[in-house]
């Protein structure tokens, strides 16, 4: 599907954003940060951030993420098949548990969760292929460990992770029967980009150098190196000749192609965190980010801090240009409403995000979800609406409807004005004011529901009226159907 028509209008640089009266540090900017770097902000999050400078705030988000411990391993985290008592049943159970755990992590971890999830769509593996819950855990574990770490070491670690070895056939890549799958994707998808600085020969030679990780003691147990299946001949990769092994491949790759890798990764991160449009900022913004990455030997924190603190990131042309993923739709909504949820709801929402095109641990193919406009078609769009409907209906039907009114009261200071309530609620979820102002009128007409107009005119109606929870609910359902709701 075609993506951007226009190049970016964002002419701001990576210089530090400093608030001013024309460009203040406010709720909109904080929500922009949280929606991009995390999965949305609660009211408390926003209040806390308002009392910091942008620099302090970003530093805190990045440092907290960088220092965060990974989620503890479940007891089955390193099980091989022998360790299970009933593999079929337990494998599913454990995987479901872990999906739920991952979802909770995303809800709680802000930037660490956001980046772990980003990397899961970069160093793609698919549960449907390796199909072993402990591998899913082990894969996720290194996603968390390296999320804000050193990209070179991340690349090194992921290639010998069992999920990856199975998914991209590293496990079958032997000296007598080489398999080029991983070598190709390593260059094409993970570090350089298609056709960018590698030849078919490089792929073939690299595949030979990556052999040997073909051994496990138990089925679906740890996979380790066995020299007997390693191709120990001489290989020439990127013009370097030697008896290369796994670590050498990584070292040579980053040594010979460091600039290309830095640019490729920086551009990917930029598109994910800032804007899908990069047409006219490659030489400036992307290049500068890439240089920062190189200058820091592929440690990501300095580059991320530079980007997130910049005028470019906070420029209004960065706002509202990213189409939400299905997980964004769900998790942002949970955070920004602060509505009740439980495991049943989270499990159902994870099921629905799968239906509308984002199945966690199972991206559509090795290239990952292409995001942006590919998320949306008439079918997945109506599915997103149904997803929100489901959640709200669950709350409504299980005695939680008072929280709808609580939200409205909190945001509007218990206003009695349906126009004001509507506009406030709409603006709460949107990153910009609606472009077509009459859309607020439509939303207000919906919010007013069956209550006769004079109830509003005469001040008889308020948020304590019996119909108010229902009214807020249908307004929320309408908000979720507005085109702007899908943009962050």
């Amino acid at each position: 599907m075609e993506t951007i028509a226009n190049p970016t209008c964002n002419s701001s640089t990576l210089a530090l954003y400093e608030p001013s009266s024309q460009n203040p540090w406010d709720t909109r900017k904080i929500n922009h940060v949280y929606r991009r770097l995390g999965f949305g902000a609660s009211q408390d999050d926003v209040d806390a951030a308002l009392s910091l400078t942008p620099g302090q705030f970003i530093n805190s988000l990045v440092d907290t993420a960088h220092n965060m411990q990974p989620t503890p391993a479940p007891y089955w985290g390193y099980y091989s098949n022998d360790d299970f008592s009933d593999y079929e049943t337990q494998n599913f159970e454990f995987f479901d548990q872990w999906r739920l755990q991952t979802t909770k992590d995303l809800l709680e971890e802000n930037l660490r969760g956001r980046l772990a999830f980003f990397w899961m769509n970069h160093f793609v593996t698919r549960f449907g292929i390796y199909f072993h819950a402990p591998y899913a855990f082990q894969y996720y574990h290194i996603m968390q460990v390296y999320a804000l770490g050193n990209f070179k070491e991340f690349t090194r670690a992921v290639g010998i992770n069992p999920a990856m070895l199975i998914f991209l056939n590293g496990y079958e890549n032997t000296n007598y029967s080489p398999n080029e799958n991983y070598a190709r994707e390593l260059f094409e998808l993970f570090t350089l980009g298609e056709g960018n600085g590698y030849t078919q020969n490089d792929i073939t030679e690299t595949a030979r150098a990556l052999t040997g990780y073909n051994e496990w003691d138990e089925e679906n147990g740890a996979i380790y190196f066995d020299p007997s299946s390693f191709d120990d001949g001489v290989k020439t990769i990127f013009g370097q000749t030697g008896n290369w092994g796994y670590d050498d491949v990584v070292d040579i790759l980053f040594q010979e192609k460091g600039s290309e890798i830095a640019y490729y990764i920086s551009e990917k991160l930029y598109k994910f965190f800032v804007s899908p449009a990069t047409d006219n900022i490659g030489q400036t913004i992307i290049q500068e980010l890439a240089q920062t990455l190189i200058n820091n030997n592929f440690e990501m924190v300095p580059m991320l801090k530079k980007l997130f603190k910049s005028q470019h990131f906070f420029d209004e042309h960065s706002v509202g240009v990213v189409i939400k993923s299905p997980f964004d739709v769900v998790l942002n909504f949970l955070k920004e409403t602060d509505f009740y949820y439980n495991d049943t709801i989270l499990n159902a929402l994870v099921y629905y995000t799968g239906l509308v095109g984002q199945e966690i641990y199972d991206p559509v193919d090795v290239a990952g979800w292409q995001r942006d406009e590919t998320w949306i078609n008439a079918s997945t769009l109506t599915g997103r609406w149904a997803l929100i409907d489901e959640f709200l209906d669950y709350l409504d039907q299980n005695g939680h409807d008072s929280i709808f009114v609580d939200l409205a009261k909190a945001l509007t200071n218990n206003s009695k004005d349906p126009n004001f309530i509507t506009k406030t609620l709409v603006d709460h979820f949107m990153c910009k004011e609606l472009y077509t102002l009459s859309d607020y009128d439509i939303a207000t007409d919906i919010f007013k529901w069956e209550v006769p107009q004079n109830y509003y005119d005469q001040g008889i109606w308020d948020l304590d009226s019996n119909s108010a929870p229902y009214q807020v609910m249908i307004l929320l359902k309408h908000i979720a159907r507005m085109p702007e709701f899908q943009l962050k």
Binding site: T8, F92, A378, S379, G383, D396, I446, E450, Y455, M473
Partner: protein, 539 residues
């Protein structure tokens, strides 16, 4: 059933009348939200469901065969219209005047429709329509044990059930029978078009809402004029503009009926010049859709503001002027293409108002009030039924109805839409109502045999943790039941075997071999080449 708890006394102070009782209302928690200003999204939209042409059910065939070209426009006077100040009972002007010394119409400000009844002189439009023989008034319409809650009473008028809480509307039930496979195979044109009254039950079926609904007139105007819900020509610059365009354009494609509505609108024009008032704008669009041969049979438009607890003289006047002018313009407009005899318009209101005024120059919630009908098919003007007794009231001090609103519905369904009595009875929840003499008579000689149209009944049942589909087989047949997720993809087959007449229960979770997540699904039954679909919840 709820009754109003605090009933104002006859001689309470002037002050309290303007303070309204907090409504104790029992509106319905439905598992679907319908058409929230989002046109045409009845229930779940199956994006990729296999669109197999379905052979209609015997009942839907019978219904379709007996259809004619007649159209019904329902004007909802929202808030409870004061009937006594609309159709003034001048046969006993003295009593009328005593009941409402401050807000009564002066005799010199009335236009007599006949010796007994008059309308305010600012309703010149209706005077003209009455004079042309295109108006009838049904006196004293209501139902027993009047409920004084806006929401509950409006729900009663829509659902026709004044005893239990019924979640479907009379037109919703009709369309549910006409389109048993609606979720998968909706019709080409919207069954109904509705402006405002989002939340009204009238077009609500068990599973879907059958109206193309918009929150306000501007929304419908946008769809009618541009064929789209969201403007894709006026957008901001830069990448945000690109993304907003993309989102709006995709949202537009999900709206099922925008293009047929746009086609009908563009194929016609208004030959009346309507005012700028609320009802006028709505009827102007409806006129174009009718004249442009959209094909939709039922329209509902809404005029809000009738809850005149205070300042009734001015407030009601503005609304009735709009009503009067709009009806005149509407029927002149339809007459220009000879359609004024094909369209019957009916006013409804959740209740009338108290015979006596309150202390704020207004009136409080009442009971019986007139229903007005308009159309060249009415065979002349006239009054139907008897006016309620002006001085004998019910326990809430309200006028006692002399007609049941369901008699009017029954008459309209039988004599205007020519539906078989058994169908009418089923739409009206298996009650039989009287047919009134409204001057409309079904011209059709119906040779449709409804005796063969045994309804195939199927319904989801929820019992603790189990989800069941209960079907009632009228005869022996092979039954294939499939389950679809809400995106329209087949999840599995629940049943595929011969079933004998009688009740059968299918346990969904037991039958399906995949693990089912909590949420909405759709099941589709195929039997005898006919399809039936409903949504179902797995909990």
């Amino acid at each position: 059933m709820c009754k109003n708890h605090t009933i104002p006394e006859k001689n309470t102070s002037k002050n309290e009348k303007s303070i309204h009782d907090k409504e104790h209302s029992t509106w319905n928690r439905r598992s679907f939200i319908q058409a929230l200003g989002l046109a045409g999204a009845g229930g779940i939209m199956l994006g990729h469901a296999s669109v197999t042409a379905s052979k209609p059910s015997p009942l839907s065939v019978a219904l379709a065969a007996s259809e004619n070209d007649n159209i019904l426009v329902i004007i909802r006077l929202k808030g409870g219209n004061d009937g006594l100040n609309t159709i003034v009972p001048i046969y006993d002007y003295a009593t009328y005047a005593n009941l409402r010394p401050n807000i009564r119409h002066q005799q010199s400000n009335l236009i007599n429709l006949n010796a007994d009844f008059a309308i305010p002189n600012y309703m010149g439009g209706l005077e003209s329509v009455w004079g042309d023989g295109k108006m009838k008034v049904i006196h004293g319409v209501g139902y027993p044990q009047q409920n004084l809650s806006h929401f509950r009473s409006a729900a009663i008028w829509a659902s026709t059930d004044d005893i239990s809480v019924e979640n479907t509307g009379w037109w919703g039930r009709y369309y549910e029978d006409l389109y048993p496979d609606y979720l998968v195979n909706p019709p080409e044109i919207p069954p109904a078009v509705q402006i405002g009254s989002i939340g009204d039950l009238i077009f609500e079926g068990n599973d879907s809402n059958y109206a193309f609904s918009v929150a306000n007139t501007e929304q419908l105007a946008n769809v009618a004029q541009n064929g789209v819900q969201h403007d894709v020509t006026n957008l901001p610059d830069c990448v945000y503009g690109d993304k907003l365009l993309f989102m709006r354009a995709t949202t537009n494609t999900t709206i099922r009926y925008s293009s047929v509505i746009n086609d009908a609108y563009m194929a016609s024009s208004n030959s009346s010049s309507y005012s700028d008032e609320n009802l006028a704008k709505q009827l102007a669009i409806v006129a174009r859709l009718i004249k442009g041969n959209l094909g939709t049979k039922v329209y509902m438009v809404t005029l809000d503001g009738f809850d005149t607890h205070a300042n009734q003289i001015d407030d009601q006047r503005g609304l009735l002027e709009d009503l009067s002018d709009s009806i005149k313009d509407f029927y002149d407009d339809l007459a220009a293409t000879g359609m004024d005899d094909k369209v019957l318009t009916m006013t409804i209101s959740e209740f009338g108002r108290r015979p006596y005024e309150n202390g704020s120059n207004g009136t409080d919630h009442g009971a019986a009030s007139p229903v007005m009908l308009f159309g060249a098919g009415l065979d002349g003007n006239g009054f139907v039924g008897t006016h309620p007794n002006l001085t004998e009231w019910d326990a809430d001090d309200n006028l006692i109805p002399t007609s049941d609103f369901r008699d009017i519905y029954s008459t309209v369904l039988t004599e205007w839409f020519c539906l078989d009595p058994s169908v009418v009875s089923s739409i009206l929840l298996n009650h039989n109502y009287q047919n009134l003499d409204l001057g409309i008579t079904c011209q059709l000689l119906s040779n449709t045999d409804f005796s063969d149209t045994t309804r195939f009944v199927h319904i989801p049942i929820y019992q603790n943790n189990r989800t069941l589909i209960e079907i009632n087989m009228p005869n022996t047949a092979n039954v294939d039941i499939r389950l679809y997720d809400m995106m329209g993809r087949e999840v599995g087959t629940l049943e595929n075997k011969i079933l004998y007449p009688g009740k059968h229960s299918i346990d969904v979770k037991e039958k399906i071999r995949t693990r089912l997540s909590y949420g909405q699904y759709i099941y589709r039954i195929s039997t005898g080449g006919q399809f039936y679909s409903k949504s179902i919840q797995i909990r």
